[in-house]
Symmetry: C3
Subunit: 381 residues, 3 copies
């Protein structure tokens, strides 16, 4: 009998200030930018979970996150000047330290600035990403992922997808979609892989999704609460071996989200050189993923016509995730046995949100087993 869909879905997808899912997401360190997104001495506006912030990198190189606007007359602080590790407002020159305290208010009387401060947020740069703690109270210890610090080639990337972040999370807990949405892609080397049998169980880190292929191969994907994923990527190239991809999905607002991704290729020495060589080639002349996804959803292009696009997997996910609606209607679903991952994900999320709302302790997740808990499976296995 098909499972009854969640009737609490709206509680999960809203992460703005004052929402329960927003409080839960804010209780974790979240990546908000890539290292290369912000140069020393520069500032940028950020939008995370329907809230605005200022990101800047001091002249010393340390990134900082502050409130979005000056306490004085509400001007966007990111348009100002970085001076040392402080930030001066564009409008009247009020100057703030990394801790948010105002240290200069040039046209005011002496001592005035001491009465002024804005909110600042703990910030940490790690493995090519800038993380921030946007929650209440003391920040929890920053969680390191020691396996990802290993020797090899580490690539960071990000993309923006114009739908609610939970469409993406559920997509990750759904191994069956690979056989259809990605049937024409490097995931499957152009052939329809067998439809797997799916099982899911709760782990110390979140969920383990197990997909058993008809031929006997088993793929296990780890989902990390609240919004992470770890997958093994199929070997490619002459020195190909399995690489590891870890990603965080972070709401920009309820209608779109960013994904911040770290791809670790276990290649060193000559193999690393060989991997890097082709990357120096000419930049892509392909149309952007979001534009092509929209053309597919409008019916102007069929997905099969894009099979040679280097980002075909992203386009396929864009089509599937936005094709459900920016915020999906989950009241009219019809779930089956293959949706056990999605059902478990919602159950865990709702359990944690209810605990948080009731003032009870939430589960302390940790990446206990590291890279080894995730298992790839060759396409033809």
């Amino acid at each position: 009998m098909p499972q009854k869909p969640s009737t609490n879905y709206d509680k999960i997808v809203r992460t703005g200030p004052g929402t329960i899912a927003g409080r839960y997401m804010r209780s974790f360190w979240q990546p908000v930018a890539r290292t290369e997104d912000i140069l020393a001495g520069r500032a940028k506006p950020l939008r995370v979970m329907s809230e605005d912030f200022t990101l800047y990198r001091g002249e010393s190189g340390v990134p900082q996150v502050l409130a979005p606007t000056c306490a004085h007359r509400g001007t966007l602080l990111s348009t100002g000047w970085v001076e040392g590790d402080a930030l001066r407002c564009f409008y009247h020159g009020w100057k703030y330290g990394p801790d948010g305290r105002c240290i200069e208010a040039p046209a005011e009387r002496e001592g005035f600035c001491k009465t002024v401060s804005i909110r600042s947020y703990p910030t940490c740069e790690y493995l090519g990403l800038i993380f921030t703690y946007l929650g209440e109270g003391e920040a929890p210890p920053f969680p390191r992922y020691r396996d990802l610090e290993a020797d090899g080639i580490r690539e960071t990337s990000s993309y923006r997808r114009d739908c609610n972040f939970f469409n993406n999370l559920e997509n990750q807990c759904d191994p069956v979609h690979v056989a259809f949405a990605h049937r024409t892609s490097a995931f499957t080397e152009g052939g329809l892989i067998g439809v797997p049998q799916v099982s899911a169980e709760e782990t110390d880190w979140g969920l383990a999704l197990r997909a058993q292929r008809p031929g006997g191969g088993v793929r296990v994907t780890q989902f990390g609460m609240p919004s992470m994923i770890h997958i093994k990527s199929s070997p490619t190239g002459p020195d190909g071996n399995w690489s590891d991809m870890v990603a965080w999905r972070v709401p920009i607002d309820d209608l779109c989200h960013n994904s911040f991704n770290i791809h670790l290729h276990h290649l060193t020495g000559a193999a690393a050189e060989r991997y890097r060589a082709p990357k120096a080639a000419a930049p892509s002349a392909h149309r952007p993923v979001a534009e092509l996804g929209a053309a597919v959803r409008r019916g102007d292009i069929h997905i099969e016509e894009l099979k040679d696009h280097p980002d075909i997997v992203s386009i396929q996910d864009d089509v599937a995730q936005l094709g459900q609606g920016i915020i999906a209607d989950r009241e009219n679903e019809y779930l089956g046995r293959s949706d056990v991952g999605i059902i478990l994900l919602r159950k865990i999320w709702l359990r944690e949100l209810d605990a948080l709302a009731a003032g009870k302790p939430t589960k302390a997740w940790h990446w206990s087993t590291g890279l080894d808990a995730t298992v790839g499976v060759p396409v033809n296995a």
Copy 2:
């Protein structure tokens, strides 16, 4: 004394699900695409009267209309694969027949798919257009227009106009606007035609609009309920004789509509060849109608500057119809004797809507007199 404007206008212009005008419009077969809009083996999303649908054409060539999304997780079905005359969902491969029954759910247990179905809609392809019945209950017999099946050159076309469909219907019941809005056009051969005296009467098909020109010529235009028009187009070219244009105006939503048009040129043999020859010329380099209409409404261009545009009549109608507002304010009108067609159109529409709302029979319209009931009049008559 000027007529009091309708105070029931809002009832007429809203055609979304659950509205009374929407129920009325859905009780008729409506065109939703041109034949060439959908290739065999392809699918497209449709939006008609604020509702979404999937249009696809089976590999056999037969067009089908289904619900917009998969019953499983709500993904847009039009992004999937046509297989024979069935449609497979892009996300997890659920497959639906033309009757909307699910015939495969690959990752589920056997028999599961039999518990699943989505709505399908009767569909009919006729004279280069695809018609669908979107209403409740059994579809009425499909109405043929036998005169339009005659030998000759039949051209189908369509356009989208970004205002409520009723702005367009009222424009059709208003012969006076030709003398002004179209004063510079092929309709009038560049000269101000005389302002006609207008009368209107109800017919078996809808309304007959009679415009008597000062010089004695009489033009009669037939309006077909609920939203059709038949006009005679002035002779053009060496073999010119009167051609017949029939059009359906179909809401996309309350803020825009499509027009699907059939133009029948009564030309055969050598005359048909001569008509077709110039059409092989280079494609138009002219800016699109909607873009130029917007420029005229902004005041950047005066309509007279566009008098050589091949679609000048469409631009003029775009300017007049959108210039009244996307949904016009009819409470502040000031109608006169020349508005009898509009007044009668609203009266008939409201009578039918009231009957439908009260559960009483509505009038059974039929195209009794065919092409002959419509009369053109040469410009200088």
Copy 3:
């Protein structure tokens, strides 16, 4: 102690029909277009304070302002034809005189048109701008600015800024922002000028803002109620002497406004020739101000990278004014002694609005002292 911010700000920023600030602004003649914006024999739509109008210039050359749409069926009058000093509707040819009376309704019985009229607005063309009185009752006498009629080169210009007009008015009453927002500009010749001490007092015309620079120089700027500014512009070029700039900020709606500017250069004879010469050079290839302002606010460009843009001052003001929000949040400000101009401006505005709401007389402002009440100060003084 910092001043408590205004809690009545919403009353000030809303100028649509029926608002108290709208009534106040409409009690003054307001510029709505530049002379060159409308040719003889042409019409344009206008939007002023969230209301629509038709602007046209009769064949005699006199500009007129009428209601936006025809009384008949609500079509945009600006798409019609100017005939003499009258305007004929595009849709059915109803013709209106400059006083708004309908003088022809071609398809109606004789005498019908005498029962029809639309609203017309007193209009006056002066110093290269078209002014209109949009308020209730009799228009007040048109206020001339005789000093601006002097010999010299008079340039008129306008710009649209996509924020509430009051962001701009407050910016004008704030001499401190010049030292920061405009630190890299012709205002300051690229150097940080000293931060001034500010004082403000009410005058016959509005407010006098006095900024005393550290080196002893004093700059006095005059603000004219309800929304004018007069500033002295620094000398530039070989014959450079102080020029005078007077501007009116006029809401388009609550989210954007126009500025209409008159720049009077006191140059005649050979000096005027020399001033005009370089203006004949090639047109600017620079990106538009609004586009660059948006790029700075997004963090894609830092303002310092644009220091050679000829409109750098406008870009800086765009960044500062829109960076506070389209309609700024004034409840969370933190004002200091340097904000006395802003505080006084709000106090006067609220006093006048309260008087108007209570049916009491408002203050009769007049430009008593002309150009001499405004004082420039060389950068290095």
